[in-house]
Structures are given as C-alpha cells and as structure tokens.
C-alpha cells in the first residue's frame, strides 16, 4: 500500500508546486486548472438539484435573483470541491483516476488552491445572502463546511461509513434552492434532502466496487476495501430499498401528486431491480462488473428523473 502522510501533515503538501506524479514544475497555473479544481462535472448535478428545489418552492423570486441563487449554489459546491482537492492532493497522486488533477500533477501551488477555495466560499455565501436571504446563505455555508471538514477531513479517511454521512453534503442544494425562495425549510425540501442522502451510498458503492483497487492503493477505507465485495453488494440492495421508500414518500404523504408519484415509483422499482442484479453478482474482476456499471449509470439518470418529475408535478399543480 502506498504511504500516506499522517493526518497532521495533510493540506500542507504539496507546497511550491512540487510535482507528486513526476510532472515538470510550472508554477503559473492555467485558468483551466482553477476550473478543474471546481469539479465541474459534479457541479452539474448540484446545480440541477438546487435549481429543482428552487423551482419547486412555493412563492415568487425575480428571475435574475433565481439565476444568482443557482450560480451561488454552483460556486459554493465548487469551493467545497477545491477544499477537497487541496486536502487530498497526496491521496489523489496515488490514484490513477485523480493523478492528473492540478495539485497532484504539480501545475498549481497548494496555497493558491486554498486561497481560491476561501475566496469562492466567502463570495458565494455573501452574494447569496444579499441576493435572496440569509437563511439560504447559512445553509450554503453549512454545506461547504460539511463537505470540506466533516466529510473530507474527518469521515472519509477514517470510516467506511464516509459515503453514508458524507452523502449529506451533496444533499443540501435542494434545501438551499427552496430556502432562497421561501426563507424557510419545510417537509418537502427535507424529503428531497433525504432522497439524495439515501441515493448517495448505492451510487458511490457501485462505483467503488469497480475502482476498488484505486481506493485500496490510496488507503481510503471505502466499504468494498474494509468489508469486502459481498457485503458492499448487500448494503447496496438494502439502501436501494430505503431510497425507494423515501422517493415515494412525498406522494404517499400527499405533498406531491401522481405526476411525480407514478414515474418516481417506476424509477425506484428499476433501481431496486438493478441493485438486485448487483446483489446476485459474484464476480470480483472490475472488468466483468457489468451489473455494477449499469447501476452506477442508471443512478445518475434516476436522480435526474426524480427531480425532473418533481418540478413537473409542482408546475402541473
């Protein structure tokens, strides 16, 4: 297993653009490197769920302020991702999937990444507060703190439950979007939070199963590494049942109508069926994990579908 610096040294290495993966030293990072620090692909999902929370909320918001709110959610998520990459530069350097990122590749200085994350955090929270209200801004600040500190620093390197509790970090955008319109948080946005919270473990464990070797090399205690492949498959199936129950709950509780309820039920049944395929699979070779790869891909479609029908239901009503 690759050696990883102790927790106390984290975030201080690399400094001065020392290349961790043998790249040449070029201390002037490109703007593209700063953009990569924001994890723009992850940001897409955050923007989408945040926008859905905003559009589903009762009340009116000026279109420009709605745009600013979504922009602030995106920038806040980018700031959290920048903190994450700043802290995990040494771990990223030993994982094939992440070794090309700006910090481990030596294209950016550690202190520049931290300053960038600080500026984006403050700018996104303050701007959201001025544009909408300070309840939404407080939720955004808490979500950045939760992802950067509770998940990245505290849970991820210590417990195989990292994804379960850390999943909450990605579940805040609908709450922030809702609060930007209403100034408070009611049962429906909390259920939307619960849907993303229950969706995250099976989504990431499906991925972790076929990139298990990478996590093992980096010393990250993901469930397939600590508890083995069969237990991870069992947990995926269990969480898919929880997810299905939570996803149907807004319809069952009368908070949303059949425009949401029927497709949400069908999508959830498909999710459980795919998780069942994963649970029945016995392969241990990543290249043969077709069921896991199918579940991972479908899980992205599932979340997008659930939130799309949520907005459709609210508008239909």
């Amino acid at each position: 297993m690759a050696s990883i610096p102790p927790i106390a040294d984290k975030g201080r290495a690399p400094t001065g653009a020392l290349p961790l993966s043998g790249a040449p030293v070029l201390p002037a990072a490109e703007w593209r490197d700063y953009w990569a620090l924001l994890k723009p692909r992850v940001m897409t999902l955050v923007v989408f769920t945040g926008a859905c929370g905003l559009f589903a909320a009762p009340g009116h918001i000026h279109p420009f302020l709605a745009f600013v709110a979504i922009l602030c959610i995106a920038v806040g998520a980018g700031a959290a991702a920048a903190y994450n990459q700043w802290w995990e530069a040494d771990i990223d350097a030993v994982m094939k999937r992440t070794a090309g990122r700006p910090l481990p590749a030596g294209r950016m200085r550690s202190e520049d990444a931290l300053a960038f994350a600080n500026i984006l955090s403050v700018a996104s929270v303050v701007t959201l507060g001025f544009a909408t209200n300070w309840v939404a801004a407080a939720w955004l600040a808490f979500s950045i703190f939760f992802y950067a500190v509770v998940y990245t620093v505290w849970l991820k390197p210590r417990t195989p439950q990292n994804i379960v509790i850390g999943g909450a970090a990605g579940a805040f955008p609908p709450i922030i979007g809702w609060a930007a319109v209403t100034g408070d948080v009611t049962a429906l946005p909390l259920l939307l939070f619960a849907i993303i919270f229950a969706w995250t473990p099976p989504h990431f464990w499906a991925l972790a199963l076929f990139v298990r070797i990478d996590y093992e090399k980096a010393g990250i205690p993901m469930l397939p590494v600590t508890h083995g492949i069969p237990e991870t498959r069992r947990q995926i199936l269990l969480y898919s049942f929880v997810l299905a129950a939570v996803a149907v709950a807004p319809w069952a509780l009368g908070l949303l109508g059949p425009v949401y309820g029927v497709p949400a039920t069908l999508l959830s049944l498909a999710f459980v069926a795919l998780a069942g395929r994963v649970a029945r699979s016995t392969t241990t070779e990543a290249r043969d994990m077709a069921a896991e790869k199918a579940l991972f891909k479908f899980s992205l479609l599932y979340l997008a579908g659930i939130f799309a029908v949520l907005v459709a239901d609210r508008w239909a009503a």
Partner: protein, 43 residues
C-alpha cells in the same frame, strides 16, 4: 530557478491568459451586484 526562453514564453502566456480571466470574472461580479440591486428594487 532559471528557465529556457521557451519555458519563460510559455509562463508569460499562461499568466496573461489567467489575468485576463480574472479581469473578466471581476467584471462579471460587479455586473452581478448591479443586477442584484436592480432586481431587488424592482421586486
């Protein structure tokens, strides 16, 4: 650290592009706050 002329040229070009983007972002930020002010006054 001493650079070859090619490395120095590449460095200057990267810095110029980065500064241009920073300028654009700051301009957009100013416009954003102007827009927020106007939108809040109207709504």
């Amino acid at each position: 650290m001493s650079w070859s002329p090619e490395e120095e040229k590449a460095f200057v070009a990267r810095r110029k592009r980065r500064n241009l983007v920073i300028g654009l972002v700051l301009g957009a930020f100013a416009f954003l706050f102007y827009g927020i002010t106007v939108s809040r006054m109207v709504s």
